[in-house]
Symmetry: C2
Subunit: 243 residues, 2 copies
DNA sequence: CGAACTATTGATTCGGTTCAAGTCTTGTGG
DNA sequence: CCACAAGACTTGAACCGAATCAATAGTTCG
């Protein structure tokens, strides 16, 4: 099923099977998008939202010189640009990082859900506010943490997000990003990011190579980066990996 | 009326008078809160949300050493912690900056609105995603702008937000924050913030003194800080100050 | 095999922090 | 009304974290 990972580990029990059927029925269009493709440009009016089934996507803004700042990284189960439904137009760009399988959900189908399925609508609303909570944590990360801690914090976040959908076991996971991407996430240059990765390895916390993260000391990494997963709203911080 | 400033300048025309009456009826409790008081602490379950009628509020997170990072500054007309309705518990703290007049809206009233007033519900959802768009801009600001540009960008944002509710004429406005607050917004120390204010004054862009902003060159300030108000979703970027 | 990313390392510069001292305000009580 | 305390602001000097510039090494793919 398309929405198997939607809100996985996060009040998914409140999604009735009827709700899920309605969601599945609303997903009009399944597509595979190539890697590194911008699919929505800021300001453009959009009439459907993109649900990510498989792959990695991101949202970003760029400055006058064209330097990117990533503002979100999305994993399977994320309703990537559901924000566009109430907003009608986006303030940022949306792009794929890897090849992605997505489902497109037309906004008029969402209108029908909002008019008749209050419970489901509230859960959709919740999922957009989860993104907002993650945005806030990114503000904190950029505003208060050192470069090394920012990097570590981001890896902790990805580990937690991927764990709930069964794509991390707490020891290693795939994260198909380049060092330049990581720099654009953490607000530092790719050169400095590279040094920070070396630093994290030397501290015995983790390693990153070729899009794969190997964690040596997850509690240590969380401590080092002041990571507290509360903002991810996972039901039981323990094991929620089973479907 | 309590909700006179709600979504002012931002699709307020889509709020019917019936919608407004429902909102007014949902606001059970009017209160005046003292300045510099934390009213919601992270993790705490909340059963009502706070709409700001008058005054300034903020949302913040603090690091291990207790250093604050502000993640939002709210002005009259903002539904400050409507996020808490779908989220049920907040990931951050909410506090007043000045003395504030607020209206409390119980979440069960919002449940009723969601179940029966799809149009109003969508506008409430929109207002929370406006906050999310502002969060994204803050990420950009912290990740990509220099200290001086961050400060200038924040003042541009406040000018735009206050203008739509008729509290700025583009030349000067009250912003009752200390330099320490501004530092916690821009992710720099209060000492450096002070130097950046001097810098902005020497550039002939603006001045800040005793909680009052005097703008000498608004287009210049926007240019300097790469400020583009699109993310604030104001209907006509021009004059929308009339009630 | 070569082109084009991607990653790594070194040397230098610069923006912002830190620490420290001092001044200006504002409010309070004698 | 003045004395004083507590914030809020201002300025300087030294230091440090991150950017920049530059050169080289891997890697991947056509």
């Amino acid at each position: 099923m398309i929405f198997d990972d939607f809100l996985r580990g996060r009040r998914r029990d409140r999604l009735s099977s009827a709700d899920l059927e309605i969601l599945e029925a609303a997903a009009s269009d399944l597509r595979t998008l190539p890697a590194r493709r911008t699919i929505i440009t800021r300001g453009q009016a959009v009439r459907h939202s993109t649900y990510l089934i498989d792959g990695f996507m991101c949202r970003y803004m760029d400055d006058r010189e064209g330097e990117r700042q990533l503002v979100a990284v999305h994993v399977p189960g994320d309703f990537v640009d559901l924000h566009a439904y109430p907003l009608e137009t986006l303030d940022h760009d949306v792009a794929t990082l890897t090849e992605c399988r997505v489902a497109l959900v037309p906004h008029d189908k969402l209108d029908a859900i909002l008019a008749t399925q209050a419970n489901l609508a509230k859960l959709l609303w919740f999922s957009t506010l989860l993104d907002a909570a993650i945005h806030r944590e990114w503000i904190f990360r950029l505003g208060r943490l050192s470069a090394a801690a920012r990097v570590a914090h981001f890896f902790c976040e990805m580990e937690a997000k991927l764990r709930v959908i069964g794509r991390s076991d707490g020891k290693a996971f795939d994260l198909p990003l380049t060092q330049a991407d990581l720099g654009e996430i953490c607000g530092i240059t790719a050169v400095h990011l590279n040094r920070m990765l070396r630093d994290l390895k030397e501290r015995g916390l983790m390693a990153f190579r070729g899009g794969r993260v190997t964690i040596q000391d997850l509690p240590g990494l969380a401590r080092f980066s002041e990571f507290d997963p509360g903002y991810l709203f996972v039901d039981q911080p323990g094991s929620v990996t089973s479907p």
